[in-house]
Symmetry: C2
Subunit: 254 residues, 2 copies
């Protein structure tokens, strides 16, 4: 039998507002796609809809930039109020150039502008931007619990974002919240085709799933923030974002 | 209609030897999976089988290390003959520590040990290692032409490898050879959900496809080096690896 996998973008997903019940909307989307959740399925959710449902919108008019934010805003040629939020959401600023501030986010990963976004945010009610979820692992776990309660099977859930990379052009989907599958797949000790031990030993499983789902979500006005994945084989291990974060002392490119 | 994508690992793929006709084997694999190639399909091929078919095996017994290779081998705690090959395959050594040499490969990307591998290489005939294909874009184009000649439709073809990353743990599939689809998807000027111009503008499409396919290939003894992808929508642009390479002057993390 050929190993295979299928990915489906849940259709008809509405625009999300603070307080919306994302789990209920995912269940409606599964029904609209004629999908019945099965054990082992993975539900991949774009960070934006999680953040919106969790009310992570901030109106820039409510932000008073600090002196460091003003200084950094000048170097980065950005709105000092936005820079204030970037600093609040970060542990460390790694690189700065016009238009770009690369930080270690408080959640531990390296990304541009602390993941704060003002595309796909309704500006009608002011100059609003969207922060990442407070705790994406917890958001993923809550969604997983809700889906299990409704369907009786326990899917894995990923919250994903798009990140730029060192060395290579273009953003790719990466996991920022993980529940119910290994974020990192450890192959150490497994034999290669000729029975020797394998050289490459750890695979960024959750990031590969994130990239796959990202292909269907699109980045622009397509509005497909939730993808259902079936057919992925993975060992029973309840992972987390932390598995994907390279410890600073093992990172040769900071 | 729900947007969807399916990936199938071609079953029964044999161990590849130098001179094997990879296109013919892919056609047999498609038949074994009961798949008829359609326009827009993507065939994703692991670098290892391309390299093997192209005879990129080198016996370490035939390699005489230079003085710089001896010096670097000491720092990296590696076989000087392997290090000689790494240097021959690289433009620049970026970082060194025991067990690891990170280089800019002659093909332009940054990777560990110049992508030279000695897992899944039959050692019976000596201490052999496997170099990357001479020109993976050309390998992808040749496969594409052969598949079109046989099937009458023109699929896209990717040659992929697994690379480690700055900042994050775990390898992910990335494209090192591209034919028939955009490697980088340019969304500049496309509107977001609220009609404004998009912030994130370039998506590493070929790398996301590589990551998706990598999920089915496995890294160990699974022996599924070719994956068929159907359902991906992409504009008609014949891309190449070069699109994915961040110019040195735009790379803040060298």
């Amino acid at each position: 039998m050929a190993a295979s996998m299928s990915l489906t973008a849940l259709p008809g997903f509405p625009r999300i507002r603070p307080g919306d019940d994302l789990a209920a909307l995912i269940l409606e989307g599964l029904e609209a796609a004629a999908l019945r959740l099965e054990a082992g399925d993975v539900i991949v959710v774009a960070q934006k809809v999680v953040s919106k449902a969790e009310g992570r919108l901030v109106d820039l008019q409510d932000v008073t930039p600090s002196a460091p934010a003003h200084e950094l805003a000048e170097r980065a040629e950005k709105d000092p109020r936005l820079v204030e939020l970037i600093l609040l959401e970060s542990r460390e600023v790694l690189r700065v150039r016009p238009g770009l501030i690369i930080v270690e986010h408080r959640l531990g990963f390296v990304c541009a502008n602390a993941g704060i976004d003002h595309s796909n945010v309704d500006q009608a009610a002011g100059e609003r931007v969207l922060l990442l979820p407070e705790d994406p692992d917890a958001s993923a776990r809550r969604l997983r619990d809700r889906l299990e309660a409704a369907c009786g099977v326990r899917p894995a859930v990923l919250i994903i974002d798009s990140h730029g990379r060192a060395w290579r052009m273009g953003t790719v989907g990466v996991a920022i919240g993980v529940a119910g599958l290994p974020a990192l797949l450890d192959l150490r000790g497994r034999p290669d085709l000729f029975g020797r031990r394998l050289q490459v030993t750890q695979v960024g499983l959750a990031d590969e799933v994130a990239a796959a789902a990202s292909l269907l979500m699109g980045q622009a006005d397509e509005g497909c923030p939730v993808v259902h994945l079936r057919g992925l084989r993975y060992p029973p291990h309840d992972g987390s974002l932390a598995e994907l974060l390279r410890p600073r002392e093992l990172d040769l490119f900071r």
